[in-house]
């Protein structure tokens, strides 16, 4: 890929992207996407949430997983940062703690792809940040 330097380059790329995304949207609707939310408050950032976010953003499209990766605030689990919340289509959200790049790989391969649970789940009385 040539270097993207100007807004014109971005425009050109958006054309290519559009056809790719259209193809994807024809097949399914947004509810069928996997959602990954990465906790990005001070504690999350300080313990490496940014690397984890980048990893998911780069790896999920590469591994052909239809997903939305977004940032969220503090989930109240500062001791276990970086924390992420994963919502598989039609399922309850699950929160994982102490997620580094290696753990992220395991979560993608085992939980996101096959629905197998992996260590590191934060279970008790879980509420999403939106409930607070």
């Amino acid at each position: 890929m040539s270097k993207i330097k100007s807004l014109a380059d971005l425009k050109k790329l958006s054309g290519e992207l559009k056809s790719k995304i259209d193809l994807r949207e024809k097949g399914d609707n947004p509810e069928s996407l996997v959602q990954v939310k990465v906790g990005m408050a001070t504690s999350g950032i300080a313990s490496g949430a940014k690397e984890v976010f980048n990893y998911f953003a780069e790896e999920l499209p590469k591994r052909n997983v239809e997903a939305v990766v977004s940032q969220t605030g503090d989930m109240g689990y500062c001791y276990a940062e970086p924390t992420i919340e994963v919502i598989l289509p039609g399922q309850e959200p699950i929160v994982f703690g102490y997620v580094d790049v290696k753990k992220a790989d395991e979560i993608i391969e085992k939980y996101i792809k096959n629905g197998e649970l992996v260590d590191g789940i934060i279970p008790q009385n879980y509420e999403t940040i939106d409930d607070k």
Partner: protein, 182 residues
């Protein structure tokens, strides 16, 4: 936090939580005066004076999930350790300015780090808000405006995962051109 870009990511989070839909990140490296200035200006809901005094206190936070808020305090500490300062100017209903100065060549000044990654993550992760990032070093300047980016992308949503990497490369190649990063 070891990188200035991570502090910026953290502070911008406050702006977005304060309802800002436009956040400006202005970095100015003045080599002649030996200053490294970072300003984060938002059009969020602002704060009254008594709250502005309190936010510097690590035991003040507006959130309900826990009782400490360290973002501003950590940034301030880092600035002061590098011979600089952090101040906050805010007006209720208008927005907040966080102004941070470092001594440019101070050995304790953290490096900027992956600013392109941070800006692209903010733009893609917060589609409802817009971001302007301007970075100048002795006369040369790069300005990134997410509104222009969204226009260039047309129908493609900024939150599509592929866009993050494009934007990162876009910012990095411009910063390299200006020799802001090598």
């Amino acid at each position: 936090m070891k990188e200035l870009s991570l502090h910026i990511l953290d502070i911008v989070h406050n702006s977005v939580s304060a309802g800002a839909n436009l956040v400006q990140i202005i970095v100015n490296e003045d080599l002649a005066e030996n200053n490294y200035d970072i300003q984060i200006r938002d059009n969020g809901k602002g704060m009254p004076d008594d709250i502005v005094k309190q936010v510097i206190d690590p035991f003040y936070t507006t959130r309900t999930t826990r009782k400490v808020g360290l973002g501003i305090s950590l940034f301030k500490q880092n600035a002061e350790q590098a011979g600089g300062y952090l101040k906050i100017e805010s007006e209720l209903g208008k927005g907040t300015d966080v102004i941070v100065r470092f001594v440019h060549d101070n050995i304790d000044r953290p490096v900027m780090g992956d600013i392109a990654g941070v800006i692209s993550m903010m733009v893609c992760g917060t589609p409802k808000a817009d971001f302007i990032y301007s970075h100048s070093v002795s006369g040369s300047q790069f300005v990134f405006d997410s509104r222009e980016v969204k226009e260039a992308l047309g129908d493609v949503s900024v939150s599509s995962p592929e866009v993050v990497n494009y934007l990162k490369e876009f910012i990095n190649s411009n910063l390299e051109e200006l020799q802001i990063i090598k």
